[in-house]
Subunit: 378 residues, 4 copies
């Protein structure tokens, strides 16, 4: 069965014009289009929630003021403020990379540094977007188990080089919640990190591409997981959890609004028909859709984990809690599952390591089918 | 009647946190939400074509490979190639500013200069996005009547400072088609400019935010208006003519594909659920929707122009051909029309100058109502 | 006689590796090495003042703390503060382009604009260094006779687009004193411009590559020509008037010191053996050397002007006052003078236009010889 | 005895305007100006070689063409080419940070990554200058003992993310020779690294701030240590080894000359009186001055090492070979030496760690005095 290559978007089908050979790590372990159709490759392989699609269609009725000066955008903003129990500024972004880049740029000068986990998306998966949007700030890497920043490493880093003109200046702590490997910081863990950073004068950024999955996992309020801990700017992910193309930069510091406005425009994110972006966010925040979607994804991931944790030869390696499952599968198992049409990444994080991401569209019947296949083929 | 303020997107309703006073030029001449509902403020005040909305909804059925590695994106690419009668690379962009910025960045090094008309969008309306995306290239301004570049000015500029290490190096000619004031370059006019630029070794960029309006106005093929004239990269506008949030960078030079891929990702434009972007472009290119929409807008603008050109006190100032009308209205007329709910910009381009933009949603009955109001109130 | 090509520094002698053909405008009208030895090409064709050379040699005696933490740097700073009658921060820069770029970067954010004359060095002669150092700010051009900014054009520009998120924000007024064509703003002219800018909230930058030539021409104090008029940052030129490689960024606003420190380091200007830079500035400020050198240059330029102003066929075109003379010479005259070994630019600013720059090394006998040659050959 | 604070250059003496508190790590362990006068703080605490001072003074005699178009610059270039036994391009730079930044920028696009040791100067000591000059490239860190890159880590890194549009692209290997901790790569060690990088398509940059110290330590030719191993661009340090303010970017790839020319100008490094920079490099390369200076520094460091290696309580920790000595001293010993006026860093690299740098100015009598003091006070 022919391998499905994963070319950079926009490349020619044969990759000929790209001129850069693909590394084995990048080759997704998909062997047919069917494997994609089972949809465990990522939560962005899913479609959108019907409620959000309806809202997009509804937003098209009649003209509206462009560039976010429309009533729907104002309404979304009010809903976001209500959800977070505070006044805030919100800017829709087409990608998480744009949200992260623009948010970080508002929190550091170019000679500042961003402290982040070595596993973080901003470090590994954005082709240098943070460096681009911040005009060349430096990401300083920290370690820690399960992709969570080790507080002692943070303590050592927050003052490194401070006041030394030869050194970049520690300026921002960027926390990923849910982490890249699916673990979820507890509120106490978050508080320890944000306190260290705050005490040293750093700003706090949260990459919340899977923000809501963490929220429902911890069963806390949005406020408790953000500004009450000192978070200044949140990359509020919606795309992976039901939206089409809409994440958001949420700022809890009104003094950043002007800078964010200009960086958002200048960064190519101020869409003219903004209501089509904000309609997605508005519906997402309506009738607990965001929370329900995240609960479904998390519950199905837990069901999958429970179903395979005792299978001989399979080792589940990451912390439970969110919608991501990391495991070690024998190569033969992965191959056999791919042949059955179950799509998920192998080898991208190391030999034998598989990542399975469950999304809000998955139902118990899907999970049970997947579990059965794993148990049969293992 | 209370004025409707036009705040930067994301700003607080009272503008308090912005901290920058509004200039009179920026104040849109809108006096009620009704004025927006009549929709002549801009073609981005319109909603989306039903066919495009349908395509977006349909794209949500079932999972798909993320980041543009899906079948719909491949199909769209093929339709674009067919429309332009050549192989090409295409990258969806959420805004025209992003499309322009990324496209220009692929055509010049930071010490290169971009030759453009002083009226161009890249110079006036993108808050420095081209300078941001190009890592600090310089836009060198040219004049010319009706926002069209004067060939003699171009001739003088293409070699200015060439080879002088103290000077930026002329690298790109950026042509806006339709221009900012609604005029349309003829093919011969385009050829003269692109020949001058090509002969001097410059690359050619076309800002086609209203590309299709020009195409149908000239009744030429996409190929004739682009790569056959030497255009390297086109910002292909779809949003203003029926899409929701999707423009595209179209590159006719395969050697630029790798650089564009990375700049597109790094610039925050590689959406994870790319099919929701490409679905818009795909439907736009299907069954001549793009051409039909543009023909409707242009025809309605011509109908409006014909209806008011002889009104005493009203002077239509721009060239006919596209969907934009510039005119001088007495202040009393503008005010009275605003009170009737007709929305359009006044004063932004100078005292007394009004800009009326007609879009694909306008029908003859709308235009006739507008004409009647102007004739009555003038 | 073979033409002496003026290649970019570092290029191969035959220019082969540069790959960019030279434009006629760039070709300096020099026909032998002798023509350089007469030294009217620019004031940077001169060597250094003996007092400054002595100071550099003296600075080498014994070790010193690096990076400007040495006693000589502190002493220079004190002399600069005394000369300007105020506390200030000073950062040595190896070039005027670096001084301008770093100074401007401290006065504007990337989405800000810098208002400057179209003839200014930052616009024409720095290969985009301001755009580079400011992370992509935009220089907005103003006109005005004799390379002096027209106050009415400034008035129109200071508020253009203010508060409009689609527009760059007017942030800095950059004034060149002495201007590129050798004219000198009067204190009243400067005050009018700085008042307009200050009233609109802009910061003030002064490009003083020939600062001292203006100072002695106006017979005012450094304070009167800078901070008393609201200048925030001055590019203090010394190289053209007697130093080797040392200009300086002088900041009158203590709140800018931290940002300037980091931009100066990050911009590659914090020399490890800083005392060799500050020794130059220290000697320059000692015993009125800077003032004496500028007086000599200005006086000799006036002597030259007086000697040729009545020559038939020669038209002196620029304002008197500084050490630069612009004139129209018949081509035959320029050629004949070049053959005699007098070096000066022709054609760079337009056909027939010559620029003659007199420096502190020129003596009355030199000028009289030049005048005699012009009168003989005209 | 009051500590001598080491403020960023240009800061106010009391640091008040800097606003950033100093970290303990930054506080240099100097207790009086005498301690500086003993000069072991860094090799940039030394003055300049008399021959170089003479050359600078001589360069001032008579006018010369500006911006490097002078005869002395051409002569220096020829000497550099002779020393390296190849044609090359050379650009004088005022600082090593500028040389590194501009050189790296010519070897990578903004989405490329630079592979470098975690201890490297470009990572730790340039306040983000590489990120600034490269328009936001990323430095990816490698480990390895004695600040030398581990070949296995390099092997793993050269292909990481290659062809993956989500990842920065490995583009440059930057090697520091002499390393930051004074170790010297052997030719075989260099060849192993450059071969790995070359085979993967990376470019090679060498940070040679102490290039000549390595050269004489290995007793190889400049060619053997650079282009014969595949080095594309060398930051050729001269300042630490006898010059005043002149390092150089040496490029062995003629296709980079144009880009380097523009980046050098745009980066604020093209001095108008360039001959004062190139005179330093010319004298440095004349009559083996560079080699003699480096031999003296290395020999004196070896003498110091031999004199203290057996002292109880003192542990010399770094590899021998160059002019740098890292050791662990009891705090009481460091304090007592500081009180005697011996200046060197303590604590900057960790508690108890001292760095002693010997330069070309040190003579046997100086070293013997230092050794005697250490032996007496230990």
């Amino acid at each position: 069965m022919a391998a499905l290559s994963v070319a950079p978007a926009g490349s020619r089908p044969d990759g000929a014009s790209i001129g850069i050979p693909y590394s084995p790590l990048q080759k997704a372990a998909m062997t047919s289009i069917d494997s994609i159709l089972r949809g465990y490759l990522s939560d962005n392989a899913a479609g959108a929630s019907p409620q959000i699609l309806d809202a997009v269609v509804a937003a098209s009725a009649g003209p509206a003021a462009p560039y976010g000066n429309d009533a729907l955008t104002a309404q979304m903003r009010a809903k976001m403020a209500a959800a977070f129990e505070c006044d805030l500024d919100v800017f829709a972004a087409g990608t998480g990379s744009a949200a992260n880049g623009i948010g970080l740029a508002a929190l550091t000068r170019p000679w500042g540094s961003i402290l982040a986990h070595a596993d973080s998306h901003i470090n590994n998966d954005e082709a240098g977007a943070p460096e681009f949007f911040t005009d060349g700030s430096k990401i300083v890497l920290l370690g820690g188990a399960h992709s969570k920043i080790d507080p002692d490493e943070l303590r050592a880093a927050v003052n490194a080089g401070r006041g030394d003109v030869h050194s970049v200046q520690p300026s921002v702590l960027s926390i990923t919640q849910v982490t890249e490997t699916g673990s979820v910081y507890t509120i106490n863990e978050l508080r320890e990190l944000t306190t260290i950073a705050r005490d040293a004068g750093l700003r706090i950024h949260m990459d919340g591409a899977r923000f809501t999955n963490a929220l429902v996992a911890l069963d806390v309020s949005p406020a408790e997981m953000t500004w009450k801990l000192g978070v200044d700017i949140l990359s509020f992910g919606a795309t992976k959890n039901g939206a089409l193309t809409a994440d958001a930069i949420v700022s809890f510091d009104p003094t950043l609004a002007t800078e964010l406005s200009f960086r958002h425009k200048r960064g190519g994110q101020l869409t003219s028909k903004m209501r089509f972006q904000t309609a997605q966010l508005d519906a997402y925040l309506t009738d607990d859709l965001w929370l329900e979607n995240a609960r479904q994804a998390n519950a199905m991931a837990a069901r999958l984990r429970a179903g395979i944790v005792d299978v001989a030869g399979v080792t589940v390696t990451n912390e439970p809690g969110s919608n991501i499952l990391f495991a070690i599968f024998p190569d033969e198992l992965s191959d056999a599952l791919h042949d059955r049409g179950f799509g998920f990444y192998t080898d991208r994080w190391g030999p034998g390591i598989v990542r399975i991401v469950v999304s809000f569209v998955h139902q118990a019947v899907d999970i049970d089918e997947f579990v059965a296949a794993i148990r049969e083929l293992a």
